[in-house]
């Protein structure tokens, strides 16, 4: 690596992968509970497993983003990290807070956990994705601010590149919008309205900036295309992301008690939301096809291309599928949403974090790229996980379509639980696709331990 302080990214990446494994294991538990209702009950009830599954996703992606920033920002700024010690301290604080929170979910009754952690002082718990106790939320803010201070200071004293600026805007946005997690109005409509300012403006707003910056960084490194060309694409992508994504928040306001005009605003702007993802796909393929020489890290190139395609499919195509108000009237809150959520998170954020890990990890371990044997295994893991996720999505989509028909279209509509019984076949198929995904993840982890002749770092 170019700067010694970039090494602090390594523990963040390792923690991210470990927590990713935890997330997938809880996903398997959940998938099984869909078809065997009392599986692991009462030890791990469905609502707890779901909370752990989604919270682990957020935490490991945040670890991935932070690790990526610690690797990328010094290299782009051409200077050492402002304080590697602070990065190390924050790592342990964030890991301890994350692990304690998950253990709290698993071993303490949620109501007791709320009482123990000061929820009576400022009630913020009990909302999907934002279930964290008040103490954890405060911890996240403290860690995020200290992290932002560290990387902002690094950038300020070094070279200011477009990639660094876009990444920092994305990361600052992430921290700022998380503050709405502390705002919990008693009016349920207002509560939901601002809840989306965290959830939507993260994943369909500022996280897209982070994603585009990470992708641009890796593409510059593996293709050798002129920085100016890549930066122009980056400007276009982030403009498209913000123009469509911010007002696109309206697609969450259709049926929650907000004014009707949101059906128009939400439909029009969110119908345009696939465009930035589409641009990212063109961007990734265009840059890779421009290169004159083969980069030794072929696995990183594959993850980068995969990010473009799968993000477009998951966030773009599957998002568009149910984003128009007249369609969403039927699809709202069904398994169609779950299908979209799975493929979008995998395509956009899981893959971009793995892309930067795949590029940076060999360098952090003192080599330009892993051995060909290790890379082959890594590429196998890409295909296994990606194909498995496509099947998870297709099975959930099929379940969703049938669920909509039985519950909301049929002349003799079924109750929710009766309809769930009817779509069980698709849930079974989803479980097996989940097992295949887990096998892909195991393959990915194993690829780190494969020995062989690797290409050394050039001086």
């Amino acid at each position: 690596m170019k700067y010694q302080s970039q090494a602090v990214a390594l523990p963040y990446f390792i923690a991210a992968i470990a927590l990713f494994a935890g997330q997938v294991i809880f996903g398997l538990i959940l998938g099984t509970q869909y078809v065997i209702g009392d599986f692991l009950f009462p030890e791990i009830p469905f609502n707890i497993a779901r909370m752990v599954h989604t919270n682990l996703l957020i935490v490991w992606l945040l670890f991935g983003f932070m690790g990526a920033a610690y690797y990328l920002v010094p290299e782009e700024a051409e200077t050492e990290l402002y304080s590697p010690l602070l990065a190390w301290i924050l790592f342990w604080v964030f890991l301890a807070a994350g692990v304690l929170t998950i253990l709290g979910y698993l071993f303490v009754d949620y109501n007791t956990l709320a009482t123990m952690t000061g929820n009576n002082l400022l009630a913020t718990m009990g909302r999907e994705f934002l279930e964290q106790p008040l103490l954890t939320k405060i911890g996240i803010v403290v860690v995020a601010l200290a992290f932002l201070f560290n990387i902002s200071m690094t950038m300020l004293r070094g070279r200011k590149t477009v990639i660094n600026i876009v990444l920092l805007i994305g990361l600052w946005g992430l921290a700022i919008f998380f503050l709405f997690a502390f705002y919990n109005p008693t009016n349920l409509v207002m509560d939901k309205f601002y809840w989306w300012w965290v959830v939507h403006l993260w994943v369909e707003g500022v996280w897209e900036l982070i994603m585009a910056a990470l992708l641009a960084f890796v593409l510059i490194k593996v293709t050798g295309v002129d920085r100016e060309v890549i930066e122009k694409w980056l400007y276009v992508i982030i403009t498209l992301a913000l123009v469509t994504g911010i007002i696109g928040t309206g697609h969450h306001y259709f049926w929650i008690g907000t004014p009707e005009y949101w059906q128009w605003w939400g439909s029009i702007f969110s119908a345009l939301e696939p465009i930035p993802f589409f641009a990212m796909t063109v961007f990734a393929f265009n840059m890779v096809n421009r290169r004159r020489r083969e980069h030794p890290n072929k696995a990183a190139v594959l993850w980068a291309l995969g990010t473009g395609v799968m993000a477009f499919l998951g966030a773009g195509v599957w998002g568009f599928l149910h984003t128009l108000a007249p369609v969403n009237y039927y699809t709202h809150g069904t398994q169609i949403t779950a299908a979209h959520g799975h493929l979008a998170f995998y395509g956009a954020y899981v893959l971009v974090v793995i892309t930067i890990i795949s590029y940076a990890m060999p360098i952090l371990r003192g080599r330009a790229a892993n051995s060909p044997k290790a890379q082959v295994l890594e590429m196998w893991s890409f295909w296994i996980m990606t194909i498995a996720m496509v099947f998870i999505t297709l099975f959930l989509t099929a379940a969703g379509i049938l669920q909509i028909w039985l519950q909301r279209v049929s002349e003799t509509p079924m109750s929710f639980m009766m309809a769930q019984d009817q779509v069980a076949l698709f849930y079974w198929m989803r479980v097996w696709a989940g097992v295949a995904f887990f096998a892909g993840l195991v393959t990915y982890v194993l690829s780190f331990f494969v020995k062989g002749e690797s290409k050394p770092l050039s001086a």
Binding site: G224, P274, V282, F285, F312, V317, L321, A398
Partner: protein
């Protein structure tokens, strides 16, 4: 409009001929934002530039027009057939029909991305299965 020799791919933003890029962009616009209108504009573009000196321009115009027609046939034709055979009031038709439509539509868009990419880089392209053979 003739083809340039060896553009600098590492430095140029869009080395490919603008008409070829526009043809691929309209192919995608027809699929994503302005169905039918995108196709009409694409055909008009093909009509105007079908005798262009640039082999790359001719290639992309021909590929996009033919693939739009064959793609629409398999996309809409098979979807309609699924509903005709299964019945509009049959949930099975909806499960198969919607899944079919999404998958084929997304595949056409991805192929369009590859086509656009090739046009930007001043390279010829053939849509697999759907596009005509590339002229020599």
């Amino acid at each position: 409009m003739t083809d340039r020799q060896q553009p600098n791919l590492l430095k140029e933003n869009m080395p490919g001929p603008p008409v070829a890029v526009l043809a691929e962009a309209l192919f995608l616009a027809n699929l994503m934002i302005i169905p039918v209108l995108g196709f009409v504009l694409m055909v008009a573009l093909w009509w105007k530039f079908r005798h262009s000196d640039s082999a790359i321009v001719r290639n992309h115009l021909q590929q996009t027009v033919v693939t739009s027609i064959s793609g629409a046939t398999i996309l809409i034709g098979v979807s309609v057939t699924i509903f005709l055979l299964g019945g509009i009031d049959n949930p099975v038709s909806w499960v198969i029909g919607v899944l079919y439509f999404i998958c084929v539509h997304a595949a056409l868009i991805l192929l369009g991305v590859f086509g656009l990419n090739r046009a930007i880089l001043a390279r010829k392209w053939r849509y697999p299965l759907l596009g005509p053979r590339i002229e020599d």
